[in-house]
Structure formats: structure tokens, C-alpha cells
Amino acid sequence: MGEVILTMSGIDKSFPGVHALDHVDFELRRGEVHALMGENGAGKSTLMKVLTGIYSKDSGTITFEGKEVEYHNTHDAQEAGIVIVHQELNMVGDLTVAQNIFIGREFRKGFMIDDRRMIEESKKLFDELHINIDPRAKMSDLTVGKQQMCEIAKAISHKAKVIIFDEPSAALTEKEIDDLFAIIRDLRSQNLGIIYISHRMDEIKVITDRVTVMRDGTYVGTLITDECTKEDIINMMVGRVIYEEPKTHSMVPADAPVVLKVDHLNAGKMVQDVSFELRKGEILGFSGLMGAGRTETARALFGADPKQSGDIYINGEKVTINSPEDAVKHGIGYLSEDRKRYGIAVQKTITENSTLATLKEYMAGLFINKSTERAVTLQYIKELDTKTPGPDQLVVNLSGGNQQKVVIAKWLVRNCDILIFDEPTRGIDVGAKNEIYKLMNRLAAEGKSIIMISSEMTEILRMSDRIIVMCEGKKTGEIPIEEATQEAIMDKATRDIR
């Protein structure tokens, strides 16, 4: 480990409704891999976005190579030598791999972009990384994993002094992860500073030198990896927040009837011959890596995407579900992973969103009965403890957790018996997360059946009565909670990946 290259101190940042960063400190040395850990919503990504100029900080100082700096956009940061490999993919789908890697700093011959040289350089990069991607391929034709590798290659191709990896491994296979680690070690030996954000405890132990833990937008502490245990880190991450008790055994009575049966469901490449059963009062966890086909399964089941074959039985009866309309008619509700895109109409009020699925019931003849509509909205605001000045508030003004509650309210108003929660706590701060967990448990206890798709292992282990693991569009395992361990799940989640 060399001298300190980057110091962030007292960084403060607020968004409407969320105090995202509360005087956070962070330090990075040359030649170290520094893990940044914390639950979703702890503020890691926000901190990195402040560093790279995507967000401007409210207060605090950033010192890079001994000088106080403030970047106004990613370009400035890149110029200075700080690059980020984003968690969300930031690729221009219509351009080729090479074009994407060198976007914004194309090689040129006069006015002309030197595509040939860009292709050659990309090849060189990929060779270094030992990955096999055709630089001439169109980006949108690649798999998610390959796109992620391109993103990494792009970051490395900058003559960077500091590289930030924001959960790079989420979509990678074991082999790819090994390659990635080889690259990271190589970079470390070149005396670069590396910030590594991840949830995977094992990786942290393997690759990092120090660990900084954040919680609820605050700095908790920094440890030297070799000198601490997993438990130390977890304790720091979880802190005082009391979670719902993790489940050790299924809460579903043995004689609970099957409410939903999915038989040999096929829908495109991502859903291949998936079968499972869901019982009354059960929380069925769906685990797997990014792009394993879980969301696609849920969407096909819900009729949101077309399916090729497969039967669906509800309470023993075969039903036809070709559209969300059919699904809702049969009492299925779906909370999308991407709330803003699929869940809520953000420019509309809480009331309008809450009754979206049930508007028919609030009609007085031709007209909407606004008072009963309002009454039921108020009821669920109270019941779900949604924090809002009133039912006429626009959803855009609510925090992530409260927006999620509005979506849940929509399905509760509908009185759905089967609920699909797709990444229910993504982008929600810790406190609200816990409330959502409580709520899910309560709903299950009331006899609702829940399918929960989650990429967070802890969430899966904490909430599920039973776990289904998917990999590359296939169901690769079904584990009762009693037998479930991270290792067992991980093994099945990567089973098909070579």
C-alpha cells in the first residue's frame, strides 16, 4: 500500500425526502483495493456519484493527489483519472462494443474517427482481460454479463489512477469473476487505487485490503480485511437496526393448499420449462444472478410478456393468462423491480395510483366516486404507514420506500391473493426496508401468497419459506428454508454457467 491518493471528508448530500449522505469520510491509498460495504441504500453509490461529479455535494471536501477538487461531470473526473464502472449499465445499445469503449474520446485521423484503431485497441484490452468479445458486435446484441465486461474494459482503458467498481460481479459467472480478480490484482500492482463495492462477503475477503462500511448514509468505520472476520463486517453493516427475525423454518402449515401452480412455462430464451407451486400463506423466494430469468418468469406468469407454452393453475383450476388484465382478474398482483418504469405513474397522485387496478369498483354510474376512492386511499396510507401529507400528494414527491408502499396499496386495494414482489426493497433506505419486510410477513400470515424475487442473499434467507433458484432461464434448484445456505444457493445459481 502506498500513500493516500484520495480523501473524502464530511461529505453531505440530501435529496428531497432522503438524507442520502450524512458527513461521510473515506480514504483511498495507491495500490490498495478498498471495499466499500453497506446494505442497499446505505449510500455507497451516492458517495461514488458525488466523487465522479454526477451529483454535486452539499458540503464536505474531496482531496485528490493532495489537491482539493470538485468535478462537475464525469468527463472532468475521467480527465483527472477517476473512472467508475457503473452498477447500471451505461451503454449505447446501437453502437458497437469498440465504439462504446472509446465513446467521448475517439481516436481520430483528421476529422475521421479511426474505427480500425479503436477495434484494435479494444482487442488488446480484451486480450489483457482474457475475455472473448468481438469489438465489432453491436452492444445491444451482447448478454448482460458481456456488457458488464465491456463496461469494465472501458473503465480500464482510461489511463486511470482510481477505478471504482460498483458491484461488478453481480452479473458475472465464477470464471468471469476469477478473470476480473486477476485484472484487479494486476491493476493493484500497477499502484492504482481501487474502490470495490460489493455485497459478496467472500469476494471481499479474497480481493480487498481494507473495508469501509457505511450505514444509512453515514460512515461507520474502516477495517483491515485480513484482521477482521465476516461477522465484524456484518455487525458494522447491520448496526443497531433491528431486522425482522430471519426465518429458520417455514411458517407455512404443512396442509396449506396450493394456490398457484405453474407447469412447464416457456417464454423466450430467459424462461425455459419453469415449473413450481405456491402455497397459501407462503413466501416463495426466487434467487439467482442478474439475468437468470426470474423477472422474466414473473412477467410471463403475469401476462406482461407473451409466453410460448405452459399451464397455470389457480386453486387447482387451469386459467388462461394472456395479459395483465387476465392476471389481475385472477387475483395476481405484480410489484415490478423497476418501480418508476413499471410500477407507478409518478406525475399522478397517491389516490390515482392506489385505485389504478380497481377503478371499476369506485364508479358511481359513469363517474368516479372520488370520496370513496379517497377514503380507501386514506385507509391504506394509515395501514401501511405511508409518509405523506395527504392522498393528493403527487407520487413523484415521495421517497422510494413510500412509493413502494403506494404500489403495494394498489394491490391490497385489489385484494389480490397472489402477490409477486420483484426486488421489493431496491433503492429503499434501511428503515423502510424493514417495514416492507414486516408488511410481507403480515400479509403472508393473513393468508396471502407471495413470490419474492430478490438478488440480495440476506433478504432471500431472511424472508423466504422456500427458495427457488434460477440460472440462465432454467430452474436449477428448490431449497426449503431449513436447508438453505448462501453456498447452496450460489452453487445452484451458477450451475449452468460455464
Binding site: N90, V92, D94, I113
Partner: protein
């Protein structure tokens, strides 16, 4: 995989349609095959094609430019007005017309990229404004440009020259092809073109890649305006007398041409050669249907249906590939 795509790409289909249209018209009407008919068709095509090339850029960014039709007339009026009323040399007037176009394009770009107005609305407003400006500048009067035989009418020979043995050569077609190649080159091989596609495909990602998206987004509309300016010269050379209050609707033929030629209506994809071919399909329909005895008005209905058809083919094709 990639090869398959090229065979069925919209550009190829449209090129086949263009040739087929030509052959059909030729077979039915012997007059259509005449060289003079071809010349006339070329004359009329220049300004539509120039507008189409220009508007392809905003379309590829996922935007649109509705101000090019009335704009073109406005620029032609301004240039002609200078020649007629102030004896400005033709070259200078042409320059003014083109720069006027670029200026209105800049105005569109600033409204859209810097101030954040929806492209449709910003350019719609400029459509109204240019239509008005053209009339205000000239006091609502029609403006004749110099004829080919007048001393300051040399600019006609930009588009058409007569050889010693009286054969006419549609020189404009050469310019169109050169401009098409140039703009295709710019789209495919320069930063400006690359970023045009990037803005249309994923503006956020382009921004995060450190591209000065605002600047390039403005420039896209400047190019569109610039080409409307060029089109105004072609218009003046062919039609000669420019009438204020006209031009509305011409942009739709140009945009339609680009869309038919495979430019994605939602942005991110498009080629200039496709645009030019598509524009010629529209022009062939416009100019060719009267030759085969169609009621002139049927031509409008058919153009409308062709437009929907082209987009439907694209939609169906995408579904099949999926």
C-alpha cells in the same frame, strides 16, 4: 446473424421498392421513361432530398424538426428579397439564405437542448414563426429569384447545366450524391455522427461518458437548419418564384422519406443513403402516379399508406427477429 440483418434491412427493401416503382411506372407509361421526365423529377427532388438529409439527424437523436418546410421558404424569400430589392450579389444572397437556415436551426437547438423543450413543440413553434417571418420580411409578397438567363442567375447552373449539344445534365444529382456520401461519412465516421446516434440511443449513457451532449444536440438541429437553407437555394433554382405562406407540409414529405428509408422514428438508428432512397420513393410516388393515370389526389392517399406500411414492416420485422 449480422448478414441476415443487412439483407432484410429497410434500406435494401426500400431500394428494391424504388427500382420496382420505376419499372412499374415505366412499363405502364412510356412517357415516364423519357430523359426529360427524369430531369423534371430530379429538379423537384433536390429540395425534398436536401431537407430529408438534414432532418435525418434530429430524427436519429429521437427528435424531429418540423420547421424545415416553412423555414426553407422563409430562407428562399429572404435571399431573393435581398437580390431583388437591394441588388445584393447572388452569391451573398445564397450565403444569407443558408446561414439564415443555420440560425433558425441554432434557435431550435437551443430551445431543445439547453432549455429542454420537447423537439416537436419547439420546432412547431419555429414552423409558425418562420412562416410568419418569411411574410413579414417580404411584406407578404412573392419574390422571384433571377432567371437562368439573367446575369445574376448563375446559380441555376449549380443544379443543371446544358452542354454544347443542348443536352441537359442534372448536376444537382451529383451534389446530392456527394452530400449524401459526405453526410453518411459524417454520421458513421466522425464524432458528431457518433454522438448523434448515441444521443438517440441512450442520452444518459452518452452524458455519463463525458460527451458534451448539449453542444452536439444543438449542432444536430443546426445541421438540419443548414440543409433547409441549402434546400431553399434548390427551391429557388427550380421554382424561381417563391411565395410566402407556402412550405407547410413539405417537411412532412421529407420526414416521411427519412422514415421510409429506415430511420428509426424513436431514434438511435438511421442511414443517410437510406434517407435519400426513401425520399426518392416519396418523390417517385408524387411525380410518377400522375403518369400512370392516377387521379392526382389518390397520390396523397397512397403516400399516406406507404408511410404506414413502411413502419409496419419495421415493426413486424422486429417482432419476427425477436
Amino acid at each position: 446473424m449480422t448478414k441476415k440483418k443487412t439483407i432484410f434491412s429497410q434500406e435494401v427493401i426500400v431500394a428494391i421498392v424504388l427500382v420496382a416503382l420505376y419499372l412499374i411506372f415505366r412499363t405502364i407509361s412510356s412517357d415516364f421513361g423519357k430523359y426529360t421526365t427524369f430531369l423534371s423529377m430530379m429538379d423537384i427532388s433536390y429540395y425534398y432530398v436536401l431537407m430529408a438529409i438534414g432532418v435525418a439527424f434530429p430524427l436519429i437523436t429521437g427528435g424531429v424538426d418540423l420547421s424545415i418546410g416553412t423555414g426553407m421558404i422563409c430562407y428562399a424569400l429572404a435571399g431573393g428579397f435581398l437580390i431583388r430589392n437591394y441588388n445584393v450579389p447572388t452569391g451573398l444572397a445564397i450565403l444569407v439564405s443558408i446561414l439564415f437556415g443555420a440560425a433558425i436551426g441554432l434557435c431550435n437547438g437551443v430551445l431543445i437542448s439547453i432549455l429542454g423543450l420537447p423537439p416537436f413543440l419547439a420546432t412547431l413553434c419555429n414552423c409558425m414563426i418562420t412562416r410568419g417571418l418569411g411574410s413579414v420580411v417580404t411584406g407578404s409578397f412573392a419574390v422571384p429569384w433571377p432567371t437562368a438567363k439573367q446575369d445574376n442567375g448563375w446559380f441555376h447552373s449549380i443544379f443543371k447545366i446544358t452542354t454544347a449539344n443542348k443536352t441537359k445534365i442534372p448536376l444537382g444529382l451529383v451534389w446530392i450524391i456527394l452530400l449524401m456520401l459526405l453526410m453518411q461519412f459524417i454520421l458513421a465516421h466522425t464524432r458528431f455522427g457518433r454522438y448523434t446516434i448515441a444521443i438517440g440511443s441512450n442520452k444518459e449513457a452518452a452524458m455519463l461518458s463525458g460527451i458534451n451532449v448539449r453542444f452536439y444536440h444543438v449542432m444536430v438541429y443546426v445541421v438540419s437548419g443548414l440543409f433547409a437553407g441549402l434546400a431553399s437555394i434548390a427551391y429557388a433554382a427550380v421554382i424561381k418564384t417563391v411565395q410566402p405562406g407556402t412550405g407547410a407540409g413539405m417537411e412532412l414529405d421529407a420526414i416521411g422519406g427519412a422514415i421510409v428509408g429506415g430511420v428509426s422514428a424513436s431514434g438511435g438508428y438511421g442511414t443517410i443513403y437510406g434517407t435519400v432512397i426513401g425520399a426518392y420513393v416519396i418523390i417517385f410516388l408524387k411525380q410518377g402516379l400522375p403518369y400512370i393515370g392516377f387521379n392526382a389526389n389518390m397520390q396523397q392517399i397512397i403516400t399516406g399508406l406507404v408511410l404506414i406500411g413502411a413502419v409496419c414492416i419495421d415493426i413486424i420485422k422486429r417482432k419476427v427477429i425477436k
